[in-house]
């Protein structure tokens, strides 16, 4: 196999977890994968206390920190549109979802943006991780989150709307990156208001 990131040939060593848990094969060499750092930061929701979003999210778990290697990865995956890189974290993401119970809901992209990017980067990560999901939400604004201040992001009314009936059960939101938490909180509030029991979130990266 050739490493998807550096192109060098590599062999993925057999491990016990692969034999018994059917862990997905990594698509990168050990050197490249070793450059990603596990996220150590504890995410609190202090920013949302006393706002309408207070209590919308029950927990957030982010797998990796936003270091140089991750920046480079995200650049190649999203901006150079290298869809193949969706498989890099397949094994780790699959594990993360196996430890939780609930309906997985990827944060959606606006349809116009989707045509420009040619693929939904969040959905593709889940496809690679062989994790099933439901499109429960749709995006109703195209304004880029990154260009707004934190206050503005919180104020914006309804980034999403539900396109399916919400069940009184557990939901797990999934996004590529958790930065201020506004996106996840907006999505969670919609689910909670419509009757979801618990809303947890997993993101690949903590920005």
């Amino acid at each position: 196999m050739k490493c998807l990131i550096c192109g060098a040939p590599y062999k993925s060593p057999p491990t016990w977890s692969k034999l018994f848990l059917y862990e997905l094969d990594s698509s990168t060499c050990i050197r490249c994968f070793g450059k990603f750092e596990k996220s150590q930061s504890v995410i609190d929701f202090a920013d949302f206390r006393g706002t309408p979003f207070d209590g919308a999210v029950d927990s957030v778990f982010s797998l990796y920190s936003y270091n140089e290697a991750m920046k480079e990865y995200l650049h190649q995956y999203k901006f150079l549109q290298d869809v193949a890189l969706a498989t890099v974290f397949a094994g780790k993401l699959q594990q993360a979802f196996q430890s939780k119970e609930g309906i997985v809901v990827p944060i959606p992209m606006h349809p116009d943006k989707l045509v420009l990017r040619t693929f939904a980067q969040v959905d593709e990560l889940l496809n690679a991780a062989q994790t099933s999901y439901q499109h429960v939400l749709s995006k109703i604004t195209t304004e880029a989150q990154g260009k707004k201040t934190k206050k503005e992001r919180l104020k914006t009314t309804n980034l999403f709307e539900e396109i399916q009936t919400i069940q009184p059960t557990n939901y797990i939101l999934f996004d590529d990156i958790y930065t201020t938490g506004a996106t996840i909180h907006h999505a969670a509030k919609i689910l909670k208001d419509a009757g979801a029991k618990r809303v947890e979130a997993i993101t690949l990266i903590k920005g």
């Binding site: 050739k2 050197r31 190649q76 150079l80 549109q81 290298d82 869809v83 193949a84 989707l114 045509v115 420009l116 990017r117 040619t118 693929f119 939904a120 593709e124």
Partner: protein, 442 residues
């Protein structure tokens, strides 16, 4: 017809999304037949005995290695779409992308070229330069086989000037960005009236029609039938030699009847040209420093334990004490990253490579640890060099010759220490030493 568009697209094969022109302008030129459209990827189905296999070709970089293609559900064309990962850094080319080619008369330069060089060639350089010029005039391919530090660039000048004056479009290609960055200001001085573009990954936008293009071989993926004359500098350098598509890129960028000329210290056997010139002397006339071999038994183990082998440590300390700038070449990135010292280090992915080389030149740092990335193209006055693990396969004889070629390049310091630290002498080490001694005798 839009003249700026003509100047921009002449000789190029360009991803539609990346053109700096409005959509309507491009559309109008497609309708009038000035622009020819090509799909990004051509997929053909080859019937085999038992199954059908798909074969993709990237129409920009001409890659046919199927492991570099990836297919996905595309939201733009709503089909299974295939893209080329081989040239993705220049903007992704997929089945539903459109490549633009200028299909009418190419733009022409209108500059009155001036040759503003008053340096002097040595008799050996002069001879090679004249031989090259006459090959260029007869449009026959030519190889300049010159030792490191022979002064190869200046002997190209007369042939380039003659080509420019004949109204030809000229390309000087080199495999590495560092080399292009070094050549650009020199060429601007020598040809002050010529429009010159320097193209490399991350280069700024440059306007107008360039009669002379300096480009990394990678950038040539974005040209097709553009050049009447091509000079390939350091023709054997990784990754050019290693990557067949890069060699095809050079051929594709040239006009079908254009001669391609090569300049290198270490020609590979596969390099075939009609004519050739050999330069066995440096421009300053001194002998090439001959590498010496010194054993460094078990260096891998010692370095892994976090200890610098005593002989190597003594070598470093002496250079630091004498204030002699030095380079230490290491065989792997791991060894480079884990080397137990505070010395700065550079490798291919290092963002501050240029700056660190500058600091070494200005003696702001005592020395640098490096992978083979710095084996060629850089000149540092009075630099001394050690290769650690010279017996390892990455150090081919041509890599070792290039590395040795860093030493003694200036007239003020024509000598200097070049040592191959090893755990057993390899054939490649012997070959490199023999070649250098052979040139000194010639």
């Amino acid at each position: 017809m839009n003249e700026q568009l003509q100047q921009f697209l002449s000789g190029r094969i360009w991803l539609r999304e990346h053109t700096p022109f409005p959509r309507e302008v491009i559309d109008a030129h497609i309708d009038s037949g000035h622009i020819h459209l090509k799909p990004g990827i051509t997929t053909s189905t080859e019937p085999n005995l038992f199954w059908q296999s798909k074969k993709n070709v990237c129409n920009r970089c001409h890659n046919t290695n199927q492991s570099y293609f990836h297919s996905f559900n595309c939201a733009r064309c709503n089909q299974i779409c295939t893209y080329c990962r081989h040239c993705i850094r220049m903007g992704r080319v997929s089945s539903c992308s459109e490549l633009l080619l200028w299909d009418k008369q190419h733009a022409r330069g209108a500059n009155a070229h001036v040759f503003a060089w008053n340096g002097k060639l040595t008799p050996l350089q002069q001879k090679a330069s004249e031989e090259l010029l006459s090959s260029v005039e007869r449009n026959e391919s030519h190889l300049i086989h010159a030792v490191c530090g022979a002064g190869k660039t200046e002997l190209l000048f007369p042939a380039i000037f003659a080509s420019l004056q004949a109204g030809k479009r000229v390309c000087v290609a080199a495999p590495r960005t560092d080399v292009i960055l070094e050549l650009f200001p020199r060429f601007q001085k020598v040809f002050p009236n010529t429009t010159i573009h320097a193209l490399y990954g991350g280069a700024p936008d440059q306007h107008g029609f360039a009669e002379l293009v300096l480009a990394t071989t990678h950038q040539l993926y974005r040209f097709e039938r553009a050049f009447d004359v091509v000079f390939v500098d350091e023709a054997d350098a990784f990754p050019y030699y290693a990557d067949e598509t890069l060699q095809q890129a050079v051929t594709k960028a040239a006009n079908p009847d254009a001669a391609i000329h090569y300049v290198t210290a270490t020609p590979t056997k596969s390099l075939k040209t009609t004519n050739q010139s050999v330069l066995t002397r440096r421009y300053h006339g001194h002998n090439l420093p001959v590498p010496r071999f010194d054993s460094l038994w078990g260096y891998t183990r010692k370095l892994k334990k976090g200890k610098i082998p005593p002989k190597l440590e003594a070598w470093i300390n002496k250079k630091v004490e004498m204030k002699t700038p030095f380079l230490i070449f290491l065989p792997t990135i791991e060894m480079l990253e884990n080397f137990p010292s505070d010395l700065p280090r550079v490798h291919a992915e290092h963002p501050y490579r240029k700056e660190l080389v500058m600091q070494l030149r200005e003696k702001k740092i005592p020395g640098l640890l490096t992978t083979t990335i710095l084996e060629r193209g850089i000149t540092i006055e009075n630099v001394h060099v050690a290769v650690v693990g010279a017996e390892q396969p990455i150090f081919t004889s041509s890599a070792l010759i290039q590395i040795s070629g860093r030493v003694g390049r200036s007239v003020q310091y024509p000598e200097g220490d070049i040592v191959f630290f090893h755990h057993g002498i390899s054939r490649e080490m012997d070959k490199a030493q023999d070649a250098i001694e052979g040139w000194n005798r010639a």
